[in-house]
């Protein structure tokens, strides 16, 4: 029987939740990296036992962790204890936690500043890895989305990371500015039909697409409208919270923007609003059903200054029509006195025959629905605040 492994990143460590395909009895492992913030963990589609984790701390900086046994044991993939930290030529070796911006100006433009909150220019400063996206075909290749916004790639299993500087260097970088959570590159999508095509999303800059494996990029934000920026229809400056695609229909994208749920049918060339009858179209997560490309999920949040669910009720909203018509999914979820948030990387779906949907809350609950969202149960209720949730469907 198939089984699932849910990878949960929290403010105080990582947890792994495992179950068989019934998704009723759960084994909870962890905390791993206790006391550290785990922004994201994700498994390689090419080798499900290869996991990557972003371990981070305001005190001690960024650590990349790697597992080759499905999370039972972890290692930092850089230089090992006792190994020389320099090459035989005396040059410093790369390190797994070393994210250094490329300053070689590949496009002939300086890549040194972006817009600060007050409109002045501010130097790029690496803070943390928000999101890790392993390659679909090679377990040693993975992408990292970082704050301040940039895209890095490893091709040696996380030992060394190199910036794909064409993203910051394509021309609009000096206009990017931080959102409330920092200037983070939080979403990376790989088109399974054409793996040269990559999408990234940045708060608060927008969505960008590369058609040459990350070498060159262009903004794809036409149709986004944001009342909180000087030009609501600007090419750049939109606070995109999350984008999602169905792997069998990769030209269709769904977006949860700061406010507004959006859809693109042309690989991001244009966007249309699909918020429809949602009680609030502010939110963070958006996810697509594993087998139904027009079934999508969001969790409406009350407002951008009240980061908790609308109406004090934890409701997942599902559209089976690709947007505009939404139904509240409430069975098994608290419907009073609830004031949690669901952060942008904290929802995922499995690919079992009856699609499972998972999400984690800032209150430390991780919920599962084994019936496409019709009903929900908590797997755990009292973890530290949940930052990210990913799920692996295993044979």
């Amino acid at each position: 029987m198939s089984r699932v492994r849910v990878l949960v990143g929290t403010r105080k460590g990582a947890f792994i939740l495992s179950a068989d395909g019934m998704r009723k009895k759960w084994k909870v492992s962890g905390p791993y990296f206790a006391g550290w913030e785990i922004y994201h963990m994700k498994g390689s589609p090419a080798d499900p036992d290869r996991l990557y984790a972003s371990q981070t701390s305001g005190w001690f900086g960024q650590i990349i962790q790697r597992s080759n046994d499905g999370g039972r044991t972890w290692e930092q993939p850089g230089t090992g204890p006792g190994e020389s930290i320099t090459t035989p030529e005396g040059m410093p070796k790369g390190e797994s936690n070393k994210f250094v911006y490329d300053v070689s100006s590949p496009n002939g433009k300086p890549l040194t500043t972006h817009q600060w909150y007050d409109g002045t220019q501010h130097p790029w400063e690496f803070k943390r890895v928000w999101h890790l996206e392993p390659s679909l075909t090679d377990h040693d290749t993975a992408y990292a989305g970082v704050e301040d916004a940039a895209l890095f790639r490893t091709t040696d299993g996380g030992k060394t990371w190199h910036e794909l500087a064409g993203l910051r260097g394509h021309g609009t970088g000096p206009k990017w500015q931080p959102g409330a959570g920092g200037m983070c590159l939080h979403t990376i999508l790989i088109d399974p039909a054409n793996q040269e095509r990559l999408y990234t999303a940045i708060s608060a800059a927008g969505v960008f697409r590369s058609d040459d494996a990350g070498k060159t990029w262009k903004p794809i934000n036409r149709g986004l409208r944001s009342q909180y920026i000087p030009d609501p229809d600007a090419e750049i400056g939109h606070c995109v919270h999350r984008i999602a695609m169905h792997p069998e229909r990769p030209q269709v994208l769904f977006m949860q923007k700061h406010w507004d749920v959006m859809r693109s049918d042309d690989a991001g060339e244009s966007w249309q609003e699909i918020s429809g009858n949602l009680p609030s179209d502010f939110g963070f997560v958006v996810e697509v059903h594993a087998h139904e490309p027009d079934t999508i999920y969001v969790v409406p949040i009350k407002s951008d200054f009240e980061h908790y669910v609308a109406g004090a009720k934890l409701r997942v909203y599902r559209s089976r029509t690709g947007g505009n018509e939404w139904e509240a999914l409430t069975k098994g979820l608290p419907q009073r006195n609830c004031y949690v948030n669901v952060l942008r990387d904290a929802m995922a779906v499995d690919s079992l025959d009856e699609c499972g949907v998972y999400f984690g809350t800032t209150g430390g609950q991780v919920y599962v629905s084994a019936d496409s969202g019709d009903s929900w149960k908590p797997i755990v209720r009292d973890l530290p605040s949940v930052v990210s949730v990913e799920v692996q469907t295993l044979p």
Partner: protein
């Protein structure tokens, strides 16, 4: 041997007890002790000082013999009691947050 005390999170990262002992060749300075520490425990590179600039991370402090050495030059010799192994060199995470 130079005795170094790490903060909790760096102990777990390096897989060591509270106190570790380091052989430091040549002058015993802030810089040479940190160099030796990172050579023996490369997983600590970047966690105490920046990879590129080698500047101390803002929320870490260095203490020895009751003195705050955080703002001293990297070439500053450590106190004799530390050089002789009688006292420890402390790397301390700032207490921040309520």
């Amino acid at each position: 041997m130079i005795r170094v005390i790490l903060p909790f999170h760096l102990r777990t990262l390096a897989g060591v007890d509270a106190e570790i002992q380091l052989e430091v060749g040549g002058s015993v300075t802030l810089c040479s002790v940190l160099d030796a520490l990172e050579t023996h425990y490369p997983m600590l590179r970047g966690t105490i000082r920046d990879h590129v600039t080698l500047q101390r991370r803002p929320l870490l402090r260095f203490f020895a013999c009751g003195e705050d050495l955080s703002h001293e030059s990297p070439e500053t010799p450590l106190p004799e009691a530390v050089r002789l192994g009688k006292k420890t060199f402390l790397i301390v995470g700032a207490i921040a947050g309520g």
